[in-house]
Amino acid sequence: MSENDKQVPSALVAVGTKALTVRSATLVKRGLALAKSLQPDLALPHYNLGIALKDNGDLDGAIAEYRIAIRLQPGMAAAHHNLAVALHDKGDWDGATAEYRTAIHLRPDYALAHLGLGNALNDKGDLDGAIAEYRTAIRLAPDLALAHCGLGNALEMKGDRLGALGEVEKARELDPNDSSIAEAYERIRRKAGNG
């Protein structure tokens, strides 16, 4: 019996109401596990709708759908990741960090979640934490241009201009069409040249 189940009787003792029996706690727990095992096909439509809503600029709608998908299938790492990205876009860095961490907990080799967590930590001012996450993302997916770019930016802020330049050069090589990478490359190259 979980802590929550133990709390059910006391929670139900409201004004003049009788307590709900907890003799079925074990059966309820087994039922919950059974229900969850049957739910994956239900979570997917909400996950996909979340993606579509975000593409249309409806962040709140997307967040709501990702949350439903997670409720139906708590182990869906991609839904946690996408929820984290949406929260990050809304400026909720703490919420985003928590969701990125959950995604990573569920799938430790999730390079995009490490990249996202790096970005969120960077925004929160935790440069060392961000650098560690970018490096993990690069180790898991060496061709992830944005992870190299993020690492370059973070190293530059730490004062390591040469290290930074190496990373943004690598990022530009991997994705020459990304404007944010091109901008970071130009800025860091200028500073490195001046230094």
Binding site: V8, A14, L20, V28, P45, L72
Partner: protein, 261 residues
């Protein structure tokens, strides 16, 4: 020259007026939150009964067969401590499941709790007028508590006539008559405000705890599936039925008996 007399309310009376207005707002909020809690409780109560009837009964049947299998295995291996332990655990599980299902069978068949708007309105009115936390002494509190118990039962059973009768009786009872001077009344109102605020906090905590329970999460899963046009309880029951058939086969193959199941 005529003198104009302006009636100025004493500060006590002004404060009483202010506090009464504050209490009135809180009473309305309290009635709404009591309704939320009573509805959630009744929904969980009826859902639990339905779940136990549709799925729990089958799980209990499965547990009974598994216990018989474990006991048959233990008989075959009288010196195997692990086998004896497994048999005893399986029997305990089967007993627990059977007890849970039996309790609900005794209570009879239930339908999902879906209160009408009028039923909710009546309950809200009862909670607003009779709530025990609006009592000013112990005997009044006891009387109010008894009436609320009756009202909660009537709400869960969908008995609108009973709720109306409770309200009617209360309106004509001496407890509903107010009196005394503004000073005593002010003290009474302030005390009521504190009680109502405490109760609101307790309700919020109770609802939050209920929403964290396994039963709530299970109901949530079933409701979500229903919205998508699926009957997850029936699917779960079918899955357990399959396990029951397989378990019966195992029991027969090891020489146990399944005919009585």
């Amino acid at each position: 020259m005529t003198k104009r007399i302006t009636l100025i309310k004493p500060p006590e009376a002004r404060e009483l007026e202010k506090k009464r207005a504050e209490l009135a707002t809180l009473e309305t909020r309290l009635a709404g939150r009591e309704l939320d809690l009573a509805t959630l409780q009744a929904e969980l109560h009826s859902f639990e009964a339905i779940y136990l009837r549709v799925v729990g009964s089958r799980l209990a049947e499965l547990d009974e067969i598994e216990a018989k299998i474990a006991e048959a295995m233990a008989r075959h291996q009288p010196n195997d401590e692990e086998a004896q332990k497994r048999a005893s655990q399986a029997r305990a599980q089967a007993y627990e499941s059977a007890q849970a299902v039996e309790t609900e069978q005794e209570a009879g068949k239930r339908e999902p709790f879906r209160p009408s708007e009028n039923l909710k309105k009546l309950y809200r009115e009862v909670a607003k007028r009779i709530h025990p936390d609006l009592a000013t002494d112990e005997s009044e509190r006891k009387r109010r508590h008894e009436l609320m118990t009756e009202a909660n039962r009537a709400y869960e059973e969908g008995d609108e006539a009973r709720l109306e009768a409770i309200l009617r009786d209360w309106e004509s009872s001496p407890e509903s008559v107010k009196g005394e001077g503004p000073g005593a009344e002010l003290v009474r109102v302030i005390r009521k405000i504190a009680q109502v605020e405490d109760r609101l906090k307790a309700i919020d905590a109770e609802i939050a705890r209920l929403e964290e329970s396994d039963l709530y999460h299970l109901k949530d899963q079933v409701d979500q599936a229903e919205e998508e046009g699926r009957d997850i309880l029936a699917e779960m029951a079918a899955g357990v039925n399959q396990q029951v058939v397989e378990a019966r086969g195992r029991l027969t193959s090891i020489g146990g008996h399944s005919a009585t199941l």
